[in-house]
């Protein structure tokens, strides 16, 4: 199994940390992983994106021009990456702020009201975990258990109390993911 993912949105939406948790979960279940971010001034308030690859084999390029999955959190990122999803691939987006929704017909398209769900749950900071949950519903490539272990490993001890809340957000995302277009 190899899954090549781009996660893209605004800086501050938790794009990089969502990718990191996904990557850590891959490590926890014995996979090879790479996490390659955009970095520098553009990530401070501008757009941020990260390429995450999970694979059972040695990973070649951490830099890609086409993806199995695009997780899109703003319009600029949708404009940029919709075309880069492989035919038959997956696009997941949060409709908040999206005025021109995706139009491709050769890929699976899902949406998740991440911003709204996180706000309803009373913690907007878990937004990226809601989205992650939706992704895992569409593509169950890592087990929830691996995510829990990954969080334990990557978060400092003092933040471990936040893990249950994050797992709840993931579950909410899994439950409320909507199919937009299935091929």
């Amino acid at each position: 199994m190899t899954e090549e993912i781009i996660i893209a949105g605004f800086g501050g939406q938790g794009v990089l940390s969502m990718g990191k948790i996904l990557a850590y979960s891959g490590v926890m279940q014995g996979q090879e992983v790479t996490w390659f971010p955009s970095y520098g001034p553009e990530m401070r308030g501008g757009t941020a994106n990260v390429t995450v690859i999970l694979s059972d084999n040695r990973i070649s390029s951490p830099i890609l021009h086409e993806f199995d999955t695009a997780i899109i959190l703003n319009q600029q990122s949708l404009d940029k990456f919709e075309a880069e999803v492989k035919p038959g691939g997956t696009l997941l987006y949060d409709p908040n702020g999206i005025v021109h929704p995706p139009t491709r017909t050769d890929i699976n398209i899902y949406k998740i009201e991440g911003t709204k769900i996180a706000a309803d749950m009373g913690n907007v900071k878990t937004f990226n975990m809601v989205v992650l949950g939706a992704f895992l519903k569409a593509k169950p490539i890592v087990a929830l258990e691996s995510i829990r272990k990954g969080l334990e490993k990557s978060l400092p001890e003092r933040h471990h109390k936040l893990i249950p809340m994050n797992l709840q957000a993931i579950e909410a995302g899994q439950q409320q993911m909507e199919e937009v277009h299935i091929i």
Binding site: V27, T34, G40, S60, S61, H65, S154
Partner: protein, 364 residues
């Protein structure tokens, strides 16, 4: 199996330094490698191994601190990115001239000048052909993964001490900022004062004992006849490296009609390009130099007898291509050697590489 972690290339440089018994790190912040010193400071190795970590006032100062500590026989390192390495050039030349071991990490960014903070491989010439003044060479290792960022710290120290010569880890912003799974090495104890004295007391500033003549660390020799001898000794050392230390990885070269030559991040991209091209029925291999100096000229010369042509893939305007051409032509072969690359901080994609391969080598 060692401890598994998900870490950035820059972070793992710091962790590997602590674990391999490094005595000191002197550095100055610069993007995209600031996490090296940040990680070291957060780890507080002075409480654990006694390793010294100091933020210097400039790259000029940090490389000279390295020079001083290396003169004392210690395992010492610095890291920077391209503009900072330019500032260090003077000190690196002194270290090479005084024949001291040390490790310098260059997480390259695009230039010239202030350039960009995005990844680049434009310091190939600077690293492999000198960089500072005088006839000297660095041992240059090019990691292509976060695991190699870890492994090459220990390897670079080993080679630096073996040859009493500065060793450089030539990475780039992509590998520095990227996170991958990495297996960490066991902790190796730092050498004690007594061990340093016993091993390096013949040349290091370990303090003059009555039993030995004073040690003087210097690159200065005003007697030209003696200075020529020094230079010849250096050259002999570099020849020995060329003989014994060449390292490279050949991927799917056995039956290849065409071979890509790429190092570091570019080599990772090319691995994917090889997969994509093979899927199209093009028999392509990849030769990845791991040591850029000494350069794997012989393996390239051997491949020249088998393949139709080479293409280097570099994040610069075509620097390593000169060494590939030399390797091919000096072996009396006439294979075409092409170049494909992106400049100024743009990373080529695997698809672009395949396109270039089809246009330049196969089509042309």
């Amino acid at each position: 199996m060692g401890e598994l972690r998900l870490m950035k290339g820059n972070e793992v440089i710091a962790e590997a330094a602590i674990r391999c018994g490094c005595d000191a790190y002197f550095g100055y912040p610069i993007t995209p490698q600031s996490e090296v010193m940040e990680t070291l400071m957060a780890r507080e190795p002075w409480n654990q191994t006694g390793m010294v970590v100091l933020q210097a006032e400039s790259e000029v100062a940090s490389i000279n601190m390295v020079y001083g500590a290396a003169g004392a026989g210690k395992k010492v390192m610095t890291s920077s990115s391209s503009p900072g390495i330019s500032l260090m050039a003077e000190g690196i030349s002194y270290i090479a001239g005084a024949e001291l071991p040390c490790v310098i990490v260059n997480v390259q960014r695009g230039g010239p000048g202030l350039g960009t903070i995005q990844p680049s491989q434009a310091d190939y010439f600077q690293s492999t052909k000198g960089g500072g003044h005088g006839d000297y060479r660095l041992i240059v290792l090019a990691p292509a993964s976060v695991q190699e960022m870890h492994d090459f710290v220990g390897l670079a120290f080993e080679l630096a001490f073996k040859y009493r010569n500065p060793a450089m880890i030539l990475a780039d912003g992509a590998i520095g900022q990227m996170m991958e799974k990495v297996e960490l090495g066991e902790f190796v104890a730092r050498q004690t004062t007594e061990q340093v004295d016993a091993q390096y007391g013949s040349w290091a500033t370990t303090g003059k004992k009555k039993s030995r003549a004073k040690n003087v660390i210097t690159s200065l020799e005003l007697d030209s006849a003696l200075m020529e001898q020094n230079n010849l000794r250096f050259q002999e050392k570099y020849r020995k490296m060329q003989q014994d230390e060449v390292s490279f990885e050949a991927i799917r070269c056995e039956d290849a009609d065409y071979v890509l030559v790429a190092f570091g991040s570019s080599a990772r991209i090319c691995q994917k390009s090889v997969e994509l091209a093979r899927a199209k029925g093009i028999k392509v291999g990849l030769l990845r130099p791991i040591t850029l100096f000494p350069f794997p000229s012989e393996p390239i010369a051997r491949l020249a007898k088998q393949v139709k042509g080479f293409m280097t893939v570099e994040m610069n305007a075509g620097q390593m291509i000169e060494d590939v051409r030399l390797a091919v032509n000096c072996a009396g072969e006439r294979n075409p050697v092409h170049y494909f690359g992106r400049l100024g901080g743009i990373i080529p994609t695997p698809g672009e590489v395949v396109e270039a391969l089809e246009q330049k080598l196969i089509g042309g």
